[in-house]
Symmetry: C2
């Protein structure tokens, strides 16, 4: 059965002082339901993506809390977790619930509240995504991991500091035009390259910011949407994979097998190839991650990610626009919300209502990566009228 | 598509000093895969039920860790959470993955490691299942909640201390014969009624014990199992519901709407009624919970739960054998594992290999309840040859 996006909603990603995860999730979900024009009573299943609400806020059972708060109590309401890929996993499960004929309408919500805790606590919480019997026990943190990845990319492909800085300049600039992003900025390559060191060679602006936020998507059978205004956006693929749990399991620091597998599955589901993708929102948790992800997705030739960014080929109007929203670098990364936030951005592009539009975009991709590449989702969306 | 149980595995529930959640989960999953006789390479999806591993052990992404440890890395591996119902939710999703034709074989695993933390920390972690903006903020804990439920049952139905103690005596006695249970005991009603007070009127033996443990089930299409030895066990129903997030949302302290809804859905799916159920493993997190649950499931008339226990009508050989395994009271409650542990017990009963057999059992039920009734699963299993 063809499944389509019926409605989308999102809070601004950034700081929401004093907000609870359930309040942000309910706000985003209400917007998505309103946007769908579907009565909330038709929602048959709810999936909520969240990573560390238990650790940071002492609150679990968020799926049930949100179902209750939306007054759709009674339906199956399930929290799913796959570290930073939790939001993409929630979306895929909502799609499957409709595609299998189990329900007519499903709601996916993603949320995280992180700014209420100090950076040390947040770093500790994020490390719950590592195998703490191995990588974590060695003292590694995520900036450290991506510092190692960067060093490998530089050693193998000669990627320079300024190549990577070009990714940051682009995403921060894109974010400036996106009201959902609160960390957009006008920066020069020199400013990015000279920022405060974090984990060599990663510097401050190479890192996505600790954030609060929520995003939501309502999905339904395509035929349910006949007569709705505007272009219908179909789900052409929703793939999920797992990968090595620890760095020792990666054969190559420059490729995440989970991304490669999910992309391969998504292209096969959609009957498309990398050349068909008009834009991508991908998981730039660190600047260098955008480079590696774009190569793993087949959108940029291996080793060319840094050069393409420097040459503007990944900007709007370039060969493959990457993170026209500003990405995680400019939007922030409220972990459980990120995957649904990406889909929200792609849908706005395909509907032609994005504040930072990719002209003529008909097919878009979202890529959500968790932990040390332990979980990944790749989603392909397309305009039904294209 | 008809879905069947292909294999089951479980660790003992109790104390596993120094064990990690992933190690216990992998042990149970390996046993289930071995029991199934199916090559692990055929597993197409993994669902892992876990509640508070992040909070208590600082480890998330357990689904990916277990997939990697089992060498089935690459497949979609998803942690699901619905407080104490997490295990039942994992099972339902594995069943749906097969029923929808998405995969041929799916693995559900549930796990929790709790004994490494002191009781205060565990109580705090368990409170992540409450709405902490309301019930939790009022200072309530789970023993306190079920103390209130008990007081209501006593006030409405005249249920006495010794009626409730009869539940404990039965379950502790049943557990003595179950090698997977480590808290079985020979107790008298007087001993139970005189134990150390916890949260009035709940006393020590009315509470399930803090535990470590894991359980796993492999499911597949029924036709995949032709030629396998022993009776085939089919999934006749796998229902999931949500309920009020807080006590103020319960119209009646003596009924959890999530149980009533999931039971109604499960009976409808199976085309059966309460009178068809030969045995049930239900969520006796506290002694009085068994009474309320048995009434909500329609297995015991409203208000009669205590009396039936005292009269032996819920014992093996009685009208409806409840928790022949010893239940949570004698097995302990490693939260994320409990729902799959219940299904493990029911499958052993229907296969005729349970150490505490219900003679002639052909149809069994498992009931898994989370939080303040915020999430529930009800599963009905049946012998294909019955």
């Amino acid at each position: 059965m063809r499944v389509s996006v019926a409605g989308i909603g999102s809070t601004r990603f950034g700081r929401h002082e004093g907000a609870t995860p359930q309040a942000l999730a309910i706000a985003a979900a209400r917007d998505a339901i309103l946007d769908s024009g579907i009565d909330r009573g038709e929602i048959g299943a709810l999936y909520l993506g969240n990573f560390v609400s238990g650790v940071l806020t002492g609150q679990e059972v968020l799926a049930g809390l949100v179902a209750d708060g939306l007054n759709v109590q009674g339906i199956p309401a399930t929290k799913v977790e796959g570290a930073c890929a939790s939001g993409g996993i929630a979306f895929r499960h909502a799609v499957m619930a409709v595609a299998s004929g189990q329900v007519r309408v499903a709601l996916a919500v993603g949320v995280e509240c992180m700014t209420g805790a100090d950076t040390t606590r947040v770093t500790g919480a994020l490390n719950c995504a590592m195998d703490n019997t191995t990588d974590g026990a060695a003292g590694l943190t995520y900036p450290g991991l991506f510092g190692l990845v960067w060093q490998a990319h530089a050693a193998r492909h000669g990627t320079g500091r300024d190549d990577v800085s070009a990714v940051v300049v682009k995403n921060k600039r894109n974010g400036l035009r996106n009201p959902l992003a609160s960390m957009g900025a006008t920066l020069t390559v020199d400013e990015v390259s000279a920022a405060r060191p974090i984990a060599d060679p990663i510097r401050l602006f190479d890192c996505c910011g600790i954030s609060d936020g929520a995003a939501a998507v309502v999905v339904t059978a395509a035929d349910r949407l006949s007569g709705h205004p505007g272009p219908r956006i179909d789900i052409l693929a929703a793939a999920q994979s797992s990968g090595p749990a620890r760095i020792a399991g990666l054969r190559d620091l420059l490729s995440f097998p989970a991304t490669v597998r999910a992309a391969r599955a998504a292209y096969a589901q959609a009957g498309l190839g990398p050349g068909d993708i008009d834009l991508v929102e991908l998981h730039d948790c660190f600047s260098v991650a955008e480079i590696v992800d774009s190569e793993d997705l087949g959108l940029v030739p291996p080793g060319a990610g840094g050069g393409w960014a420097r040459e503007g080929r990944t900007d709007i109007g370039g060969t493959i626009p990457i993170n026209a929203s500003g990405g995680l670098l400019a939007k922030g990364h409220p972990v459980g919300a990120t995957g649904l936030g990406q889909i929200h951005e792609v849908v706005r592009q395909l509907r032609g209502v994005h504040p930072n539009p990719v002209p003529g975009a008909a097919i878009g991709m979202a890529h959500n990566l968790g932990g040390t590449g332990i979980a990944c989702t790749v989603t392909i969306l397309g305009r039904a009228d294209a």
